[in-house]
Subunit: 359 residues, 2 copies
């Protein structure tokens, strides 16, 4: 028994259909800025326990919705679940970020990588999706996600976070064929993973290409965008007559919005360095746009937050096809009340626009 969706603003906006007001959700809306998250995180012990225990992942996913009238939930998980399921041994050390016990350092390492079965090695994610859908009871849609193959490959090759990406870039420039093999198996794993999320119940998908923006244009097209396009082509886009929209987001990818839009995705996420009005002129007739408030605005006073929200809405302008979001994830030091101010400002300022265009 799946409940009827009560709030379809997000899905409508992603399809560029009219809405009564601009839908809003925030990247990392479930996260460290919330005291209730920090409490459950402390109880969970290791970070991966949160992701791997469906009840905890569900609880954390729903926390921001209990506080704020957001228009979507996003699965609480991590983009590195896939490399972990491929056997790389993921852990998170305090303050150090993610680390792999067995990074990909050779062509032989790449040849050994399996495509995980999402309902076996990543069953905990699918169980979380099923549980969250039940608990959401149709309140808002649930967004599933994965990292882009290029972004996952940077972590897999660097062994964790990196400052200068020496290993992955050396692979790119010295052994492009080996990198293509790595990206190919990763793209197949991502496609299977996202399709399994759709089968388990997510109602929209987002691909996070966090590190596409460190690439030169030619390298971006060949090593990041091409694989995202392949994923888009391989996704289940309709379930029981209902479309499942796909959002692609390359942080630092403002120069390539036309190329991203041409993959066949439904929406393009843009970071805060992009002028949303210009972005819309460039791609607005083909895809919806998601973004793009500077996350640092959430450190400002309420009237400043409201002013900046108004700027973003005005930059996009009237008419359909906008999903309000930050240009990147919420920072951990933000006060929860700042998020309330943001969400209420989106509601207040966006309703007249849509009313006027609907009249």
């Amino acid at each position: 028994m799946i409940a009827t969706l009560q709030n379809d603003r997000l899905l409508r906006a992603l399809r560029r259909e009219p809405v009564d007001r601009t839908p809003v959700w925030l990247m990392r809306q479930a996260g460290r800025y919330l005291p209730e998250y920090r409490a459950i995180r402390a109880r969970a012990g290791h970070f991966m326990n949160l992701c791997q225990t469906p009840e905890l992942a569900c609880e954390v996913t729903l926390q921001p919705l209990a506080r704020f009238p957001l228009d979507a939930a996003i699965l609480f998980s991590d983009i590195l679940t896939i490399p972990d399921a491929m056997g790389l041994g993921l852990s998170f050390s305090e303050g150090e970020g993610p680390q792999f016990a067995r990074p990909v350092w050779s062509v032989a390492d790449i040849a050994r990588l399996p495509v995980p079965d999402p309902e076996v090695e990543l069953r905990y994610v699918m169980d979380a999706v099923r549980l969250i859908r039940r608990e959401l009871a149709g309140q808002v849609p649930l967004i599933g996600f994965a990292g882009s193959p290029w972004t996952l490959a940077t972590y897999m090759v660097e062994g964790g976070s990196s400052k200068d990406y020496v290993r992955i870039k050396s692979l790119l420039y010295n052994q492009p064929d080996a990198l293509h093999r790595l990206l190919d198996v990763t793209a197949r794993a991502v496609t299977a993973y996202l399709n399994a999320q759709v089968a388990a119940g997510v109602q929209a998908l987002m691909v996070f290409d966090t590190w596409g923006g460190i690439l030169a244009p030619r390298a971006y097209r060949d090593f990041s965008l091409a694989y995202m396009a392949r994923i888009v082509a391989g996704l289940t886009r309709v379930v029981e007559g209902r479309p499942v929209p796909v959002i692609l987001f390359t942080k630092g990818g403002g120069a390539w919005l036309e190329d991203i839009a041409a993959t066949g995705c439904d929406a393009v996420g843009v970071d805060w360095t992009v002028d949303l009005g210009e972005a819309r002129q460039r791609v607005g007739d083909r895809v919806a746009l998601q973004g793009n408030l500077d996350p640092a605005v959430l450190y400002a006073a309420p009237d400043r937050i409201r002013q900046q929200v108004a700027h973003v809405l005005a930059d996009f302008g009237p008419g359909p096809g906008h999903v309000f979001n930050l240009g990147h994830g919420i920072q951990p030091g933000v006060e929860p009340d700042a998020v309330r101010v943001l969400v209420e400002a989106v509601h207040e300022f966006s309703a007249p626009d849509h009313a006027s265009t609907a009249s």
Copy 2:
């Protein structure tokens, strides 16, 4: 007695005049990737000793020219000499990057900031310039530089390097007037500093806006670009009948090249995420372009380096107005021989282009 300049390729290219081949220099060409730099750095003790001892700064400036046939020298110094001269107390701790003993944390701190007299508090820089000019003996031109006011302000307010720029962004969104006062005094200090470098002998100028790319478009124009434009307007642009070209470089500023070109600068530096051919179409009739090889290419094998150099030259295309450079500074782990391969490839591949357009 100032020697006649024997190699004016850089100055000609910056003025978009024909050259026999594309001039090449590299950001951080004097630096840690050179064993002779590491040797003198070890002898100097603190990093600032290198900058503050004209003989050492001169020696380090000339080191890459002894190895490679580069078309320019760039003053060895640090962008943070100005805030240090303003009284913030600069130090470099091992592996931690720069730190200020007295960061700018209040409106009162900003009100107290002086505009340093370059020939007093920054005399060591001017002495280094005079010494380098003498030692260069007209071999190649000497480039002087400073950080942009916005970039300097990020360090001054954050107290050093930052990951998420919470302090400076909070100032920007909460107290824009206070930030404008900080940027105003910093812009006046930079202008005086660059003009003193010109008086001391530098033959071209570059402004490094390392952190302009973290700003939203509106904030970039108001808080970074506006102050660079003010600096450009206040610079000595001709010395004894010879023009002193000015290069502006905003890392991550690819979306704003037209605006940067409109400041009245002679050349715009572009990072490796920009397509140089598109950049030229956008601004090429107004300014020269400097860039933009991915610095990570220098980790690749010689034939791959040559291939990527050829790509950059082909992206720009034939005709004048290109200064070959990396898209950011040389990374410390690069082998010096990789730089030789790069420089020789620029020579080899660029001469025919220029010959064909000159015929």
